[in-house]
Amino acid sequence: MQPFTTHTGVVAALDRANVDTDQIIPKQFLKRIERTGFGQFLFCDWRFLPDGAPNPEFELNRPAAAGASILLARRNFGCGSSREHAPWALADYGFRAVIAPTFADIFFNNCFQNGMVPIRLDEADVDELFRRTAAAAAAGGQYRLHVDLRACEVSDDAGFRKSFAVDPFRRQCLLEGLDDIGLTLRQVDAIGVWEQAHGLPPVAG
């Protein structure tokens, strides 16, 4: 897994609550058997017009969001289907972090498996980031944030600085790009003991 330590990037503001994983990646694109190549379908129904041209109204298609790698959204981001294709699509598009007041549980877990940090900030702080992103866009520019997973902090160059909470295990895995299956398999003896104690036959081989 791609490690995550610090990242500085352009913020794309998606001013919507309850963005579900069906919107992040519609179901007709779930048929691939690879983990890659989903970015082209990200937010497909919103991002493209019926003729396939980019929808200029959609937040990610605006000049202020060009090259964005940090997604800012409203509460309950990633609700609905458990499809990991959603974080795959976001990561493949180029996002390294998603900031929202709250996330759906399964999506939140899935992000960590894909080198992407989901960051929960207070609603008031998220409001402030929306204001700063809009102000930069209104001035014809882009808004940048700095995410530091070592310090668990989000900051900009104009005085915004907030810390965020993250599970220490998930943080360590992300900082070091660790394979958590490998970590669990280090405890394989304990798993075997548990199985034996619960009447399961030994694992073959």
Partner: protein, 395 residues
Amino acid sequence: MEGPPVLYIDRHLVHEVTSPQAFEGLRLAGRRVRRPEATFATPDHNVPTSDRRLPIADPISKQQIDTLRANCREFGVRLFDLDDADQGIVHVIGPELGITQPGMTIVCGDSHTATHGALGALAFGIGTSEVEHVLATQTLRQAKPKSFEVRVDGALAHGVTAKDLVLYLIGRLSTEGGTGYVIEYTGPCIRRLGMEERMTVCNMSIEAGARAGMIAPDATTFDYLRGRDLAPRDFDRAVAAWEKLPTDTGARYDRVEVYAGADVVPQVTWGTNPAQVTGIDAAVPDPDSFTDPNDRSSAARALEYMGLVGGTKLVDIPLDRVFIGSCTNSRIEDLRAAARVPDILTPGQRCASTSNRNFEGRQGKGGRTHLVSPAMAAAAAVAGHFVDIRKWEYK
């Protein structure tokens, strides 16, 4: 590095959409499936609704099903294939075959895995990376969730179903009221529900944000499981163990909400998430009636997508289509009120659906989905618009 607790997984259900990358991960790392006998697979998302003896027309759908077949063969996983009489939607066949049993931990790469909680199992959806983790280790790293008792007293009125009940609960809890919790549904109203109705309730726990919903096993559960293909052979001994599972009297939950079954009227969603719901005797709400700015803008967006205006009575909304199906409501009792089943809506088409999600585009780009119970859907199919099923001659 300590990490979250390692939870042993008793049953792992696998389908074709969320598993190919997990099996590929095993192959690349030279790992095997630790407990093939605890792993059950079936293709259920790309299954044609037409004649399935014919080859699958969509080559990518076919590839996904072929991949599941090859993976099951390679890793020794039992597959209920397309031509198997036991093939079906994974959340329907798990209980039907007796794979799902009280007290088990059950996972599947599918958010509606909570369905199996109806039998007193701890069952929840996981992502594909976690599917790979369970295949390789038969465990999952899982922080302990908070507990949430949703108690429903009394009984449902005539014509009001489990689907109405769960939509009503989601409307009150919001789409994220259950986030971070496992819900236990308790109370006399829940105890009165049959097993299929309990599955409908638990299935939609995720629509309130809860990864899992469960109902303590009782005589209804045991009667349902007795004689199922994969139920325990020494059934009475199993029942004796299962009877010890229910939550202790006086146990404390992190959160408790109490509702009255009698307050539930038939429900219809008016928006683009399942919490945007109201009773059939009500009208579509005005977005300005919401105090929270997020709720207000969500409602305004939803009404625009749905082509509705605040104040319209639900019974005055005309319908183009009716859909009876999905893992929430596709059981035989649901289909007895059968209707023509369209696969996909065209933009702007309005559908009464027994499905579990009314998200934008979920039933086809631009399609407008209203979630209702199977009985309400069937009545709407006859009338051409929503009707209050309680006012019909309903046997």
